[in-house]
C-alpha cells in the first residue's frame, strides 16, 4: 500500500515514472534493518522572509548516490533559485516534494538512505507520513480520451517497462551505428523525452534517418504505453510486448485503477444510448475551427446546455440516502496523458461562451501536459465526457467515476444511410452516445429526456455559439 499512499502526497495527480519505479522496491520492504538510518532533507530557509519554497528541479533522482556537500535540489524562494546541498552522504531514497511543488520551510522534501538496504525503510517512512484517502476518481473512468492527438496504432509498446520484473522485448534499431541493436541511436531530444516518459529506447523503432530514434518515435511509444496502462484498451497492444506465461504485478497506478474499479461495483448503474445526426454540428465546427474552437469544447458546451434543463442528471448520490444537486455544471473530460489518464474539468461550462471554453480547454491540456494541474482542476467534475471517436469506435460504455452521477461515452460520427421523416433515404453523419448513470438518483426517463435535449442541441447547434 505504500506506493498508493505515496501517490497521495502529490498535489498533482498525474502518474509519472518515479511513482511507478517504487513498485520495484516494494516487495523488499520487510527486510529492513533496525539500525538502518534514514535522514530527511528539509526545505531550507533561503532568506529571512521565506516561509515556503518551491522545488525547481531535483539534481538527483531516486537511487542516485549523494556525496556530502553535493547539490541535490534547486529551490526557488521569493528572491532567487538556489542549489541546496546535502549535509550527509547517502542514497536518494524517496523524493517527497516533486518538481514544481512547494513545501513550507523546515518540512521534509526528500529522504536520504545511508545504505541501499535502508531505501525500503525510507520509502515506508515516506508513505507513512503521507495522508491517505484522497479520492482518485480520475482512475475510474473506463476509457481514456486521446483528445490532443489521436493515437495511431502503436508500433512498439513499452508496456510495463517501468517495473523491473517485467521483461522487455528488445527491438534492434536498424541504424548502422547501433551495432546490431547493442547500441541505441537516438537524437538528443529523443533521449530527453525518453527519460521524461520513462521509455526504454531499446524498445523503440526509429523512424529518423538510417533508423535513428527521433522525438516523435518516443512520443509515440510513450502514448502507446499510456494507452496500454488502461486495461481495456491495452489488451491488444500490450500483447506484443509482454512475455507470455509470466505474472507481472500491477504498477502503483494500475493498483489504484483496480481499487477504483472495484469500488464502482457498489454503485447500481444502468445505460441509455442515443443516435444523433451531426451534419449541422460538423458544419459549425468547420466554420469556427479556425477561431480555435475544438470538438471537445463543442461537446462539453452542448452537454452543459442540456444539463441546465435536467439538473437531476447533474446530481450525485453521496450517502445512498439523498440527492446532491450540484450548484454548478462542471464538465470533466477524460484525457489520456503520458502514462496515465486525467480528467481536466471545464468549470461552469454552461455559463462560458464557446470561445472562452475552447481557450480554457487548451490551457487545461497544456497544464496537464506540463503536470501543473491543480486538484480543483481535475477533481471537481459533476458530469464526465469520454470520447473514443477518434479511434473509430462507434459505441462503448463507460464506468461511472465514484462521486458523480453520470458519464457520457461518445463514439465516432460516421456517414450512415438513414431513412428520413419525409420517407426518403439519405446519407447523414451519425454519432452514438451512451450514458452510464447511478440509478439511485437518475432514472431512465431522466436520462432519456436529457439525451433528447442533448440530441436537439447537437442537431441544431446554433445556440452553441450564442
Amino acid at each position: 500500500m505504500a506506493n498508493l499512499l505515496h501517490l497521495n502526497l502529490r498535489s498533482v495527480f498525474i502518474p509519472s515514472l518515479s511513482t511507478r519505479r517504487h513498485s520495484s522496491a516494494a516487495p523488499r520492504r520487510h527486510q529492513f534493518r533496525v539500525e538502518a538510518k534514514v535522514r530527511e532533507i528539509f526545505m531550507p530557509a533561503l532568506s529571512s522572509t521565506m516561509t515556503e519554497g518551491k522545488v525547481v528541479s531535483w539534481l538527483k533522482s531516486e537511487g542516485d548516490q549523494v556525496a556530502k556537500g553535493e547539490s541535490v535540489v534547486v529551490v526557488e524562494s521569493d528572491k532567487a533559485d538556489m542549489e541546496v546541498e546535502s549535509f550527509h552522504a547517502g542514497i536518494m531514497a524517496t523524493i517527497m516534494v516533486l518538481e514544481g511543488e512547494s513545501a513550507s520551510v523546515g518540512s521534509p522534501i526528500a529522504l536520504l538512505a545511508e545504505t541501499e538496504s535502508d531505501i525500503a525503510l525510507a520509502k515506508a517512512q515516506a508513505s507513512g507520513s503521507g495522508s491517505s484517502g484522497s479520492d482518485q476518481k480520475t482512475e475510474a473512468v473506463a476509457a481514456p480520451v486521446a483528445e490532443p492527438e489521436p493515437v495511431s496504432a502503436p508500433l512498439v509498446v513499452a508496456a510495463v517497462s517501468a517495473s523491473v520484473s517485467s521483461p522487455v522485448v528488445k527491438v534492434a534499431s536498424t541504424h548502422p551505428a547501433s551495432e546490431g541493436g547493442k547500441r541505441v541511436v537516438a537524437s538528443p531530444y529523443a533521449k530527453k523525452l525518453a527519460k521524461e516518459f520513462n521509455v526504454d529506447l531499446g524498445t523503440v523503432v526509429g523512424s529518423g534517418p538510417m533508423g535513428r530514434i527521433v522525438a516523435k518515435d518516443v512520443e509515440l511509444a510513450a502514448s502507446s504505453a499510456a494507452v496500454s496502462e488502461k486495461p481495456k484498451v491495452a489488451a491488444v497492444a500490450a500483447a506484443s510486448a509482454v512475455q507470455l506465461g509470466s505474472v507481472v504485478p500491477f504498477t502503483t497506478m494500475q493498483g489504484a485503477v483496480s481499487k477504483n474499479m472495484l469500488e464502482s461495483l457498489s454503485v447500481p448503474t444502468f445505460r441509455v444510448g442515443y443516435t444523433m445526426t451531426t451534419d449541422a454540428l460538423d458544419a459549425l465546427y468547420k466554420k469556427i475551427k479556425s477561431k480555435g474552437v475544438t470538438m471537445t469544447a463543442l461537446l462539453a458546451k452542448a452537454t452543459a446546455m442540456a444539463l441546465t434543463q435536467h439538473p437531476v442528471v447533474n446530481s450525485s448520490c453521496r450517502d445512498g440516502k439523498s440527492f446532491t444537486y450540484n450548484s454548478s455544471i462542471n464538465i470533466a473530460v477524460a484525457v489520456a496523458m503520458d502514462g496515465g489518464l486525467i480528467t481536466p474539468v471545464l468549470q461552469d461550462a454552461d455559463k462560458l461562451d464557446i470561445y472562452t471554453l475552447s481557450r480554457k480547454w487548451k490551457e487545461l491540456v497544456d497544464k496537464a501536459r506540463a503536470k501543473q494541474l491543480q486538484p480543483q482542476e481535475y477533481t471537481t467534475g459533476t458530469f464526465t465526457l469520454s470520447n473514443l471517436g477518434m479511434f473509430g469506435v462507434d459505441r462503448f460504455d463507460a464506468i461511472l467515476p465514484p462521486g458523480t452521477g453520470a458519464i457520457m461515452a461518445v463514439g465516432a460520427s460516421r456517414p450512415t444511410v438513414v431513412g428520413t421523416k419525409d420517407g426518403r433515404i439519405g446519407m447523414k453523419n451519425q454519432m452514438q452516445v451512451n450514458v452510464t448513470a447511478d440509478h439511485r438518483v437518475i432514472y431512465g426517463a431522466d436520462l432519456a429526456a436529457f439525451l433528447q435535449t442533448f440530441a436537439q442541441i447537437i442537431e441544431d447547434p446554433k445556440d452553441l455559439t450564442f
Binding site: V74, D81, V185, Y189
Partner: protein, 565 residues
C-alpha cells in the same frame, strides 16, 4: 586609493583649461590617457609618487599637440611610413585609427577582406544569427508569451533570409571599417604581407608584381583561423567550422558541436532555436570549462538542460568523417584520459569549435629570427616581439589572436592602441584583467577579471582574503518586468582594499552590463567608491548596483566620498 586621487586631481586646474583650447579629439584622448595611467598602476600594485602623475600630464600635452599637426606628418628617417600594420581585422583597424590620431603616417596591409575574422566570419555575423535565434526563442516560448498576455501564432523562419541578414550585416560593417580608415587617410595596401627584413615589408597579390615598403615600426595583426584537430576531415558541408556555419547554408536535424566553449555555446543557441538538436563533445570533464564554475553550472541549467541538447564529456573526437554515399557523419570518440575508444556516434552534421589557431604562416618571421610557439608570435607584456633567443626585436610588435594572449577582437584593438601609445612616446601596459568577455547566448554570459577559483588561488599565494557577493536577476524589477528572472551576477573582491577582482554575469543583457565592472577594474575604482554611484531605476544595471552595495569592505572611510553640492 591611488586611482581615485589621480582622478580627482586630473579634474582640477590643468586639464579643463587645456580642453578649452583644443579639439574634442584631444579631450577624448586625455581621458584615454588617464585610463591608461591607472591601469598601469593597478597592474603593478604599487603606490605612485606624485611626481609621476605630474610628469605624465606633461606628456599628455605634448601628445595632443602632435595630434593636431598629425595630418601633415612627414615621416622621419626616410621610411615610407611611420607604421605598417599587417592585417586589417579589428585589431589592426583599432591600431590604425589610433595611430592616425597620434599623427603617424600609417598603412595597413590586407591579404583577404577588411574586417578580418570578427567582421566577416566571427562576432559580427554570429550576432546577426543570435538576434534571430533570440526572437525565435521568445516567439516559441508560449508560456512566456502568455504570462505577458501576448498571443502569437506559430513562428517560422526563412533560412535564406536569415543567412542574408548575417551576410548583409557583415558587408555593412566591413564597408564602415574600410570607409573609416580611408577617411582618416590610412593607406590600405592589398596583398599578403611578408616581413623581409628589419623595418621592411613586401606585399602583393598572386599574379601581380610584389612591392616593398619600409616603415619605422611594424605591427603584426594577422589574427587566427578555426583550429581543426588532426583526424577531423572538413568538407564545409556536413563537417564544418564556424566559418561555414555562419553562412547558414542548411539547418541539420542533428548537429554535433565539438567543443563547448563560447563559440560552441553560441552556435548551440542559434541551431536549437532554428530546430536542430545538438550533441556537445567536450574533452574536459565539464561543459563550458572556461567559465566561472558557478556560472557554468547555472548556464548548464538554463542553456543546456531544458533545450534539445545532450553531451559527451571527457572524450575527444578522434576521427570525424563527413557524410557521403548516403552515410551520415561519423564521429569516433575516445576517452580523453585513457585514449581508449568509447563509442562512435552518427549525426547529420558536425561543427568544429575547438578554438582558434594563429594565422602566422608566410609572415617571414624567420627573416627577423622569430620562432613561433605553437604558431603564436611570442611577445612581452608590451606586445613587443621576442626573437628565438628571447631578445626584443626592435620595431616589431604583434597584437591580437596572433600573439594568443587573449583571443578577443576588442582585446586586439586595445593591444593595438597600447602599442601606438608606446610608439608615440608614452609607456603603456595593457591590463588584460580589465578586458571583458561575453557570450551572446539567450540569456547572455559575461565576465571580467578572475574566476572565483583563480581569485582564491591568487589570494592564497599573495596572502589576502577574498570575498564573493551574488545577486539574482529575480530580485531585479526590470528583469521581472521582462519576465526574464533567470540569472545570476557575482563579484569577487578583496574585503581589505575593496579591489574588484572579477565579475561574472549570466542573465538578460549581461554582455552590456559587464562594462560597469570592467571600467571599474580598468580605472581601479574600489567597491566602497562605486557603491555610491547612482543607477537609474528600474534598470538591469541595478543588478550590479546590488552587488556593489552588498559588498563588505573593511577599509576605513574612502577618500573619494561624494560631497553634496
Amino acid at each position: 586609493m591611488q586611482s581615485s586621487m589621480s582622478l580627482s586631481l586630473s579634474l582640477s586646474s590643468p586639464l579643463p583649461t587645456k580642453a578649452n583650447s583644443s579639439t574634442p579629439r584631444s579631450i577624448r584622448f586625455c581621458g584615454l590617457r588617464r585610463e591608461a595611467l591607472v591601469s598601469n598602476l593597478t597592474h603593478r600594485h604599487r603606490p605612485v609618487p606624485p611626481q609621476r602623475i605630474q610628469r605624465s600630464r606633461v606628456q599628455v600635452s605634448c601628445a595632443s599637440t602632435s595630434s593636431s599637426n598629425g595630418s601633415s606628418a612627414s615621416v622621419k628617417g626616410g621610411f615610407d611610413y611611420d607604421l605598417i600594420i599587417i592585417g586589417a581585422g579589428v585589431g589592426g583597424h583599432g591600431a590604425a585609427l589610433h595611430a592616425v590620431e597620434k599623427g603617424l603616417k600609417t598603412a595597413i596591409i590586407e591579404g583577404d577582406v577588411v574586417g578580418g575574422t570578427c567582421v566577416n566570419r566571427g562576432c559580427v555575423p554570429s550576432k546577426a544569427l543570435l538576434a534571430v535565434s533570440g526572437r525565435m526563442r521568445e516567439l516559441h516560448d508560449e508560456h512566456h508569451m502568455k504570462s505577458l498576455g501576448l498571443q502569437v501564432s506559430s513562428a517560422g523562419y526563412d533560412r535564406q533570409a536569415v543567412a542574408d541578414h548575417a551576410n548583409n550585416l557583415a558587408s555593412k560593417i566591413r564597408s564602415n571599417l574600410t570607409n573609416s580608415m580611408k577617411a582618416l587617410g590610412v593607406d590600405i595596401l592589398t596583398g599578403v604581407g611578408t616581413i623581409v627584413g628589419p623595418q621592411k615589408v613586401r606585399y602583393g597579390k598572386a599574379g601581380f608584381p610584389e612591392k616593398e615598403v619600409t616603415a619605422r615600426d611594424i605591427i603584426i595583426a594577422t589574427g587566427s583561423t578555426p583550429f581543426v584537430p588532426n583526424g577531423i576531415e572538413i568538407d564545409g558541408k556536413t563537417v564544418f567550422t564556424s566559418d561555414h556555419a555562419l553562412k547558414m547554408e542548411w539547418v541539420p536535424d542533428w548537429l554535433a558541436i565539438v567543443g563547448s566553449g563560447y563559440i560552441g555555446l553560441e552556435f548551440s543557441d542559434v541551431y536549437t532555436a532554428l530546430g536542430s538538436e545538438v550533441t556537445f563533445i567536450e574533452a574536459l570533464d565539464q561543459l563550458m570549462p572556461g567559465f566561472d564554475p558557478e556560472i557554468g553550472k547555472l548556464a548548464q541549467r538554463i542553456l543546456i538542460n531544458p533545450r534539445k541538447i545532450d553531451y559527451h564529456t571527457g572524450v575527444f573526437a578522434k576521427k570525424i568523417t563527413p557524410a557521403k554515399d548516403g552515410k551520415p557523419v561519423q564521429i569516433e570518440l575516445i576517452d580523453a584520459k585513457s585514449k581508449e575508444p568509447t563509442e562512435t556516434i552518427e549525426v547529420d552534421a558536425a561543427l568544429i569549435a575547438t578554438g582558434r589557431a594563429p594565422f602566422t604562416k608566410g609572415l617571414g618571421l624567420e627573416n627577423i629570427n622569430v620562432a613561433t610557439q605553437r604558431g603564436f608570435v611570442p611577445v612581452d607584456e608590451r606586445m613587443r616581439v621576442l626573437d628565438a633567443n628571447g631578445e626584443l626585436v626592435p620595431h616589431v610588435y604583434c597584437i591580437g589572436d596572433a600573439n594568443g594572449k587573449l583571443m578577443l577582437a576588442h582585446a586586439a584593438s586595445a593591444q593595438g592602441i597600447s602599442v601606438v601609445e608606446q610608439l608615440t612616446g608614452r609607456d603603456h601596459v595593457l591590463n588584460h584583467l580589465s578586458i571583458p568577455a561575453a557570450c551572446f547566448t539567450h540569456p547572455e554570459i559575461s565576465m571580467v577579471g578572475l574566476t572565483e577559483p583563480q581569485a582564491r588561488e591568487k589570494g592564497e599565494k599573495e596572502g589576502f582574503e577574498i570575498s564573493v557577493v551574488k545577486t539574482s536577476f529575480k530580485a531585479n524589477t526590470k528583469a521581472l518586468a521582462e519576465n526574464e528572472g533567470d540569472g545570476l551576477a557575482k563579484m569577487i573582491y578583496r574585503p581589505d582594499t575593496g579591489e574588484i577582482l572579477g565579475v561574472h554575469i549570466l542573465g538578460l543583457h549581461a554582455a552590456d552590463l559587464i562594462h560597469e565592472a570592467s571600467n571599474a577594474i580598468a580605472l581601479g575604482t574600489k567597491v566602497q567608491d562605486i557603491k555610491f554611484a547612482v543607477h537609474a531605476h528600474p534598470t538591469l544595471s541595478e543588478v550590479l548596483d546590488e552587488l556593489f552595495k552588498a559588498a563588505k569592505v573593511n577599509t576605513g572611510v574612502s577618500v573619494n566620498e561624494p560631497v553634496a553640492v
